[in-house]
Amino acid sequence: MISTPKVLPHQSPGEPEPTIKIRPPRKWVPVDFHEIWEYRELLYSFVGRDLKVRYKQTALGFLWAIIQPLFLMVVFSLFFGRLVKIPSEGIPYPLFSFAALIPWTLFAEGLTRSTASVLHNAGIMTKVYFPRLIMPISGILSPLVDFAIAFVILLLMMVYYGYVPTIAIVLLPLFVLLALMTSLAVGLWLSATNVKYRDFQYTISFLIQLWLFASPVVYPSSLLPEQYRILYGLNPMAGVIEGFRWALLGTNPPESMILVSVGVVVLLLIGGLFYFKRMEQYFADVV
């Protein structure tokens, strides 16, 4: 009773385009930004879930958002400010380091979460379709709330120390965006790789620690010789942090350093998007 193999017709020319085309994996898959926009409510749901779940059943709740950077500020001020006496461009050291710790925490949290995002959502990903890019994107967005809370603390500190932001504060959102894009760009590479090679889960906190000291958080980039500062911009967080200090505390503008940072991020981001799109075709099989 075996049915004879029939030759079934393919799509005939006059037919409308299918809504969905399923094809074998390709090397280069374009990013469908329109689809991501269509799924924006899912993105909000993911971000909302992460926020709600994060502080459930904690005694201090959202205070955790500021405890970490505040403690780091205190430790840094004692060791690097008081003991080592690292120059801080004439700015009180606590303010100097906190202005850097805020964008730094935004970046570090975003990177950690987006790296873990794909594995974290594996249970959902293997049961239902949605644009996979939603996962790392939601990872970088959820720390924004913590950032906003910490930012208010920073403003209070500025009032306390008698600092008025410069006119460059209008550029601050761009630096925030640059920090987000940096964590997304690196997060895309790491999250896609992390699906198969779980090593990155363990490496990430170590990587972030190293990166912290490679960024001008506890010291000003003016500590570096003039001719190396543009190279320093290869670390996008250097551009972001100096940008923050410039906009808020009136230090020297980062100028060309920031251009190098932007260039690096754009390249990493485009590469990361293509890499992620290629790898996502295998996620469900590998995870």
Binding site: M1, H10, K56, G123, Y129
Partner: protein
Amino acid sequence: MILMSGDIAIRVRGLGKKYTIGGPQERFLTFRDIIVNSVKAPFRWLTQKGADQSTNEFWALKDVSFDVYKGEVIGIIGRNGAGKSTLLKILSRITTPTEGDVDIYGRVGSLLEVGTGFHGELTGRENIFLSGSILGMKKAEIEQKFDEIVKFSEIEKFIDTPVKRYSSGMYVRLAFAVAAHMDTEILIVDEVLAVGDAQFQKKCMGKMEDVARVGRTVLFVSHNMAAIQSLCSRCVFIMSGGVYRDGPVRDVIATYLDMVAPAEGVPLVKRIDRSGNGIGQLTALFINGCPDDHISAVCSGDTVRFKLKYKILKPILSPIFYIGIYNNLGTQIVHCNTDIVGLKPGLIRGEGEVICEIPRLPLPPGRYKINVALGEGGGEQIDRVESAALMDVLAGDFYGTGHSSSLNYGICLADHRWRFVDSESSSELL
């Protein structure tokens, strides 16, 4: 039936999916290996093809082609491991095919699991929105159906309680309620009806029937032939990764039952279509002494003795043995389980056998299939084989009256008593 090509909903052509199993790929998981391999062949790990080519390849699906027309409700049947799940995963865009292509006309919603995206810490209300949006519903759409979903799930009182405090029944009801309100033109459903208590299952079936009636396109995978028969008009039988038969539901189910029966012929120990974590195996089943690769014959009302042999790799603390008897429509008639009768066998190790006896077999004549499973107290399944053996029940004298049982005695025989209450003397019989 003449169908215009414009009526097509899903067109599957030459679909194949290859998996690489076992061998070096499993080991190929750490950064050290990437580094080692990158030295040998730089950047090859980026393209995923880094795995050693000498590993075993396995085609879960091969050369599958079929069309689904708008408004059709299609059942997909086949044994475990035949490729049904892989097919659904490709059609739901969870994984990519290795070859071939699929064109889909219309929005697709897939229900491969009950409670996808549910988070224990969130309340019922929050989970409705989360799970709904994961299933592709818009917020406005969920808001509009919210009351209906809550009503369907029957958990009104607990809607603002975190779902981790729900009983498993409540959890499943809420999860199904969300899923049942998906509104896509095409719906892909994988055996989700096998949840909840009997009453809720009935409700779910009712909902599925509604869905089927309003002209939406449904692909429905199930092992429950009765459900397939009542919901579907057409059926696709998948075997060994290919379409074995595609046609009217009755014919295909008949083929399936014919095919699945002789399955058997393969002794239990050699069966590969098994599930579970594999730390132990059920190696043989004897029904009144008849080995599992033969069809045993027993009579209604006889004592039936199942002897199940096992072999385990590491000691199991609280094993649970299961034997299920299914009729030819795939409905479970008898469920025997060491746990439900309160038996605690304690630690088992190595090899051994366990015997289960049904004193008076309460089944009418027919062919039955026996599923067996071994699980562990914590809920982990160790080994499960469907249709481990076949059993023919012949007419027998269940009621001890000298009459033989017959086919039209229902699907299950029960001891029963009658009492005649005479309006005058109220004399009792029996």
